[in-house]
């Protein structure tokens, strides 16, 4: 689904991605983990075309994406911070995004799922952080795209919405979608992810299933496995 080879990106003097190679197959839930500054967001933004890499290739569904835009028709993206224009209402925003995408959308079901009906006419600037995140989730899941990228999807969510998010992710997985998630919440990753990609200093230190990681590090759970990798490489 996604093929990244030799990806490098420098911001000024800081080398964020260092000749990174990554291959993500179609269908599955992949968690991208790593400490702050490891290049997770840069990697995701490079795939989305928001960051322009210095060198390397990125292919989605076999076609190069650097400098292109049509491939994003098949990607749903949940940004880490839900930033919407304050003067639009929820309805207006949904209508605008539907107009841009020109694809069938099942926003009505999702609005009902996250109980957003009372907020539809309200201006986005007046909503609480958690409610904005729910709108963010509706935008991310309402189109039927093959690749779904979620950047810290749990931030600001109440426990019930978190449960609903997990069931949504699993539903999409059943449909054969590829889901890429970045998160710091280890329990969430343990419950949801099938494969882990661990980034450190712009390179991939580990790629494989949760079980493989625990076998490799000899630790009993994900949290301790990651802590071990971090201390070994930062000590």
């Amino acid at each position: 689904m996604i093929e990244v080879s030799g990806l490098s990106k420098k911001f000024g003097k800081l080398e964020v991605l260092n000749n990174l190679d990554l291959s993500i197959k179609k269908g599955g839930i992949f968690a991208v983990l790593g400490p702050n500054g490891s290049g997770k967001t840069t990697l995701i933004k490079s795939i989305l075309g928001m960051v322009i890499p210095n060198s390397g290739k990125i292919e989605v569904s076999g076609k190069s994406v650097i400098g292109k835009f049509e491939y994003r028709e098949n990607i749903n993206y949940l940004p880490q911070i839900a930033n919407f224009p304050d003067n639009l209402s929820v309805n207006e925003l949904l209508r605008m995004i539907k107009d841009i995408r020109n694809m069938p959308a099942n926003d009505i079901e999702l609005i009902a799922l996250f109980k957003l009906e009372p907020y539809l006419a309200k201006k986005l600037g007046h909503l609480s952080g958690g409610t904005k995140q729910k709108v963010n989730l509706v935008l991310a899941f309402m189109f039927d795209s093959e690749l779904i990228i979620l950047d810290e999807p749990t931030s600001g969510l109440d426990p019930i919405s978190l449960l609903r998010l997990k069931s949504l992710i699993n539903e999409e997985r059943e449909k054969g979608k590829t889901i890429l998630i970045t998160s710091h919440i280890i329990s969430f990753v343990e419950q949801v992810a099938e494969e882990i990609v661990f980034l450190l200093d712009g390179k991939i230190y580990f790629k494989g299933s949760l079980n493989e990681l625990q076998e490799q590090t000899g630790e009993k759970d994900l949290e301790h496995s990651i802590a071990l990798i971090l201390t070994e490489n930062h000590a």
Partner: protein
């Protein structure tokens, strides 16, 4: 103003001096503020299947058009009520509106370029205001000083070319050529009229003003294509 003196021509001149300085300021301030305020929303749009040029040109033209519309309505309605259509001054008034629209588009484009060049809002705002200050005030000061210092040399061509590099001076020249009041021309206006004649002079001024819109807009697209978000 229209009540104070019944001459539309005089009202146009007074308005010109205000518009030629204030319209760029309004365009600059709104341009830079709009750019930074919509940064986060721009990131949402960048994840959609849209070209970057569509997004940024759309924002630029949208802002410039709405500012131009408020200018045209704000100036136009009082003049309409006064009865400008019955007056011979309608073309002079039209040139005032045209110049206002040009200046809006130019300075919003310049402000957008400053916004795209830096993440720091304060620096970006500062650069944008500095550009306005330079073109509205400092440029003319330097020009006048050079006229005084190089008094012994023939400066006609220099004055002509210098005026092409300042859209505010060009706008003044355009309106004055339209009004055709020799007493108001000043050195640059007179040089324009002498070298190019009234009609060609106006055409050249409009052409260069158009370049002043197109070139910064082109830079917006170029910067937007390479920028990381």
């Amino acid at each position: 103003m229209l009540f104070l003196n019944n001459d539309l021509g005089k009202a146009v001149i007074t308005l010109m001096n205000i518009i030629v300085v204030l319209t760029p300021l309004v365009g600059t301030v709104f341009g830079i503020m709009h750019y930074y305020n919509s940064r986060e929303f721009t990131e949402l749009l960048l994840a959609q299947p849209l070209k970057r040029s569509t997004i940024f040109l759309g924002q630029y033209i949208g802002l410039s058009l709405s500012l131009s519309l408020s200018l045209v309505l704000g100036l136009g309605l009082p003049f309409l009520a006064y009865g400008v259509f019955q007056s011979a001054a309608i073309w002079q008034f039209g040139s005032l509106l045209l110049v206002g629209v040009f200046l809006t588009f130019i300075f919003v484009a310049l402000a957008y370029n400053m916004g795209l060049s830096t993440e720091n809002k304060i620096k970006g705002f500062g650069y944008a205001i500095l550009i306005w200050l330079t073109l509205a005030i400092i440029y003319d000061g330097v020009f006048l000083i050079s006229l005084l210092v190089f008094d012994d040399y023939p400066l006609d061509k220099f004055a002509l070319i210098a005026s092409l590099f300042n859209p505010i001076d060009l706008s003044r020249i355009l309106i004055l050529l339209k009004l055709d009041i020799s007493a108001l021309f000043g050195y640059t206006g007179a040089t324009f009229k002498m070298f190019l004649g009234t009609n060609l002079g106006m055409l050249v001024a409009m052409l260069v003003l158009s370049l002043w819109v197109v070139i910064p807009a082109g830079f917006i697209l170029r910067k937007a294509k390479r920028k990381d978000f």
